[in-house]
Every structure is written in C-alpha cells, then in structure tokens.
Symmetry: C2
Subunit: 198 residues, 2 copies
C-alpha cells in the first residue's frame, strides 16, 4: 500500500522534528535556534511542532530523552568491557566524561538542558544515565568493594565532577593533554570511595 497508516506518519513527523532540532540545538544552541528555521529544514512548519510537542521546551525534552538513552547504552558498554566491577565504575564514568566532550552532548544536555529544564532529576526520564551510575555504586557497596555511602549522592558527585571537567577540557587550549590530567585526577577522587582508610 502506498498510503501509510496515520500512526506511522506521526512517528515520521516526530522523528524529523527531533532530528532537525537536535542538529540545530547542537550547532547554534537552544536559544539561538529558530523554530521556523529548523522546522522548515525538516520540511515542516511550527504547526507540526506545537501539535506534537506542545512548545519549544517540549521538543528539547524529546531530544534530551533520545540523547540520554544513547549515553546510557554507551556507558553500559564501557562498564561491560571492564575486568572488575570497580574498574567498571571508573570506565563508565570516564566514558561519560568523554561523551561529555562531544559538542552535541555538551551543548544540549550539559549546558542548555539544565538551564532551560532545570535539574536532570526532574526530567521525565529522570536522566537514566545518572540512575545507572547509582546502581553500579550500589552493587559495589553490596560486594564490599567500597565503603557504604549514599549511592545516589555519590553518583551525582562523580557525574558532576566528570561533567564539569568536560566543560573545562573542551574550553582548554590543548584538550587531549588536559583530558589526561583530568582522568588521572578523577581516578584519584573516585578512589576515595574504596575500602577503609587506616
């Protein structure tokens, strides 16, 4: 059949809008992205946007949900490759740090996202990648690898450290060199979570 079903058409429209918005937000930032411009680039108008996402913020939420899901997968992959659970936490955090260096993720999720939508803990998807780190930490506590600590708090601290380091690195004159320093320092900090200190 040549004519698609209604639901498919809608999904296609939403997909086009999310892709166009993601590109525009990444390149120009949320505030400087004109809804008229990137909807036109998707072969649509603002009418489609308002109908499907309510407003500009709604579309940003959709874009962020997509990015968050991708980050979650990549973090899980990094953790899966690690030799030990402890190394898994380090690798997943460092993977996050490296992803946070990518302009698209940095601009949309780390800069515009919190400024426009508020703290990630209040986002619809609850920022799945944050919850994942908290779970990793909980498992390490149960295994006795690290001392008991509030997992959510520790996850949030590690995440923030990586996030802020990424902003710093991306703005640095020599990102690769600075990245190495940051990773080393990050490892040192994370070790503070390990077993009892004399």
């Amino acid at each position: 059949m040549v004519a698609k079903r209604r639901a498919e058409m809608v999904e296609e429209t939403r997909g086009k809008l999310v892709r166009a918005a993601r590109k525009a937000f990444a390149e120009k930032g949320y505030a400087a992205s004109s809804m008229d411009d990137f909807t036109a680039e998707a072969g649509l108008t603002r009418g489609a946007l308002y109908h499907n996402f309510g407003d500009k913020k709604g579309l940003l939420q959709a874009v962020i949900a997509e990015l968050d899901a991708e980050i979650l997968v990549r973090m899980a992959a990094a953790r899966a490759r690690a030799a030990t659970p402890w190394q898994g936490l380090l690798d997943e955090s460092i993977a996050y740090l490296e992803m946070a260096l990518e302009p698209e993720i940095q601009r949309i999720m780390l800069l515009d996202g919190p400024a426009v939508l508020g703290d990630p803990s209040r986002w619809p998807n609850q920022s799945a990648c944050l919850r994942a780190t908290a779970q990793t930490i909980e498992r390490l506590i149960e295994a006795g690898t690290i001392r008991p600590v509030d997992a959510e708090a520790a996850a949030r601290l590690l995440n923030g450290a990586a996030l802020n380091a990424a902003l710093w690195i991306a703005a640095a004159d020599d990102p690769p060199a600075v990245l190495a320093k940051a990773v080393e320092a990050f490892r040192r900090l994370a070790e503070g979570l390990l077993g009892a200190r004399p």
Copy 2:
C-alpha cells in the same frame, strides 16, 4: 555641591543596572528577563544598558563578576576558620556547595552563566573562586598533605561535584536531608586526594 561628577554618575548608573539585572536574572532567569522591564525598574532604559555593557550578555558578565567576587570572599572566610589546611579545603568546598544552593547563585552562575557565556574558564575574571581552590590544593601538595596531582584539574573536579550536588539538592524533596548525604559523600571523595594508599 548638588551636581555629582560624571564618573560618579556613571558608576551609579552601572550599579543600578547590575542590581536590577541581578534581581531579574535570579527571579526569572536570564532568558525570561526583559531588558525593558528591569532597566525601567532601575529608572533607566535599554539605552543606558547598551551604552554601558554593550548587550545583554555583557550585563550578565558584570553580574557574574560581582557574584564571583562575593563567593570568593565567603570561601576564603570558610577556609580561614578551619583548624588545618586539609580541613580548609573541605570547608571551602562545602561552603561553595552551600552557596550553590542559594537560588540567586544557582540560577545565574551555575545554570544561565555557562549556557550563555560558555565555560567559566573563559570568563573575563576567569572565575576567581575556581583559581582559589586550585591554589588551596597546590599548597596542600607542597605541604605533602595530599599526593601530587594536577591542581587545576582536581579543583575543577571538586567544584563540579559540589556544583552538581547543589543542583540535585535544590531539586530534591527534602533538601536538608539530602545535603547531609551529599556532604558526607563529598568528604569521602575528597579523601581520595590524601596521602598514599596501602
């Protein structure tokens, strides 16, 4: 004399604008603050703003510089009260975390600032409070209290951890309880910087 000198008039105008903008940015956020509105509230117009600060971003920079200076002072005070240099680092960082809970600082410096002006390392004042923490860490390294590490990187990581924790705490249902957990976890992380581990 009734007529003030020119330089004084200008300082007064700039002060009025910064105060009005600071209030508006804190209450509504940068994007939602109308220049017409808050300049009028200061008894001025956008003409004064453009003449003195170039544009809206220029005014935000001025507001941030003012906040940064205040934060620097309060961090130094916290460090000065500490019994030991190591405790000084902890106290100054926790003071930062607590300041980051204040709506004005959180909204302007942590959310809108980076989104609009980019990474703090590129701000005109270089974010003095970040440099201060780096210096504190350098002194601790020289004293042999903590193992050698890139001070700037470590400062940035600690700062990011505190910053992100503050966003989380402020968005939580029971901030005081969450703050306590965050401070404890932060202390644990920071201890990763201490002397050699067995």
